[in-house]
């Protein structure tokens, strides 16, 4: 019962902050709501007894990446009103299209993936998984999911090299 209340409360917070991120006019405020959103997601992870994931979520997203966003926003957005893009209507239709696409994706997962009854996370509280979060994730990453893990790190490396080349004219 308590878990259900906490889940719906945190989910409502996540959705609320997400709406505020896109609806706020001030860009710095939008970034701050994004931080709150990430923190609420971390709370959701804690509720699922994924403490490691929660802490990493705070460290990497809320504490690392968004700080860089904030940097960019603060330096770019000095007292200039948001420029009007070429055609607001076209942008609107693009948004509707993308939204419909995401909705269709979710519906497809529901229909073909099936909701099923996944193992109730709340009963895992005292299980091996809850106690040895870090060890278990490490084992999985370096055995079953080794290739996706390495691919992801390659992707990050490529992105980093790209950013350095873009930023530095002469190497």
């Amino acid at each position: 019962m308590g878990h259900a209340i906490a889940f719906y409360l945190i989910s409502a917070l996540i959705l609320g902050f997400a709406v505020l991120v896109v609806s706020t006019r001030n860009t710095v405020h939008a970034v701050l709501f994004l931080v709150l959103n990430f923190l609420a997601v971390a709370a959701l992870y804690v509720l699922l007894t994924a403490q490691f994931l929660a802490v990493i979520q705070v460290m990497v997203y809320a504490g690392g990446i968004v700080v860089l966003y904030l940097f960019v926003v603060m330096l770019v957005n000095l007292k200039r009103p948001p420029e009007d893009h070429s055609s607001p209507q076209r942008r609107g239709w693009l948004g509707v299209g993308l939204g419909a696409l995401v909705l269709a994706q979710l519906a497809a997962i529901l229909v073909w993936g099936g909701v099923g009854t996944p193992a109730d996370p709340y009963t895992m509280q005292n299980s091996d998984l809850a106690l040895n979060n870090v060890e278990r994730i490490g084992m999985l990453l370096y055995t079953d999911y080794l290739v996706p893990f390495e691919l992801a790190s390659m992707l990050l490396l490529v992105a980093m090299v790209g950013a350095i080349i873009l930023a530095k004219r002469e190497l």
């Binding site: 001030n26 931080v35 403490q51 705070v58 809320a62």
Partner: protein
Amino acid sequence: MIDTYLIPLIKILFVLNATLIAVTYMVLLERKVIAWVQVRLGPMRVGPYGILQPIADAVKLILKEDITPARADKWVFTAAPIIVMVPALITFAVIPFGGTVNLFGREMPLYITDINVGLLYIVSVASIGVYGIILGGWASNSKFPLLASLRASAQLISYEVAVTMTLVSLIITAGSLSMVKIVEAQLTSGLWFIFVQPVAFVLFFIGGLAETNRAPFDMAEAEQELTGGFHTEYSGMRFALFFLAEYANMIVVSSVATTLFLGGWLRPFPNLEALSFLGFVPGWMWFLLKTFVFLYIFLWVRATLPRYRYDQLMRLGWKVLIPIAIANVVVTGIVKVLL
């Protein structure tokens, strides 16, 4: 009921209050120590040897006029000091002040909680504190605070990388992320980790100085260049929050360093029988003593060393500390596998 709610609540209240008192007295201690280094007396008027000075300071700061600059962003301006202070305080939730003691016929561990990702929790909470500094400078709507906050945040992000890499090698040595388990690992190995990981210790301490914005890395508040730094526009209690958060962070770094490198609540050479007479000093006393040594070094360094130039600071962070930290991780890993 008592075990799940009442006792943790009492512990939290106790730790919070003890921390805040320690923070206010750190301010006095800093003034005194720097005064002694400079052959002055320091505060002497309020109470014997100025011992009541923190109370006078607090009264002064609370009674001062609280000014918000006219074109400041009110919400963010108000939130920034809070964002700095809260992470500094909630870190104490996972710091083990001592082992388990018998109190009123009840086994009582001297820490609020022991989570299995304790060390990562501290690192991630500390990374949230950066926002307070960035936002405080931005919301003031004034150029010097903005410049200072940009400097401070660039510095914090750079040194965060170095400190986190350093901690990785320590985690490999200890084999756990839980603060209590790390101390227990030092008990089983019989050596404080400062002897096992001396390089990591030096890196952590330099990084800790930079992370707390202390001299010689107090770039964010370089008075001569930036008229006081990101909190120039703050006054009264809000300024005090920024100020106290810096000292709270110093205590956090010192207690983390004590736990990780100096064996937390353990006595020196915990497995050596010849030194077992030291057992009459309780564990929490050892912890406080070691933390105090660190805090004293913080003050000592500030009184002694001149400030780094900004580009030197960034060069030190990225070109010296981070490569050494990564090399240390690699060497630690190889040694751990070979042994």
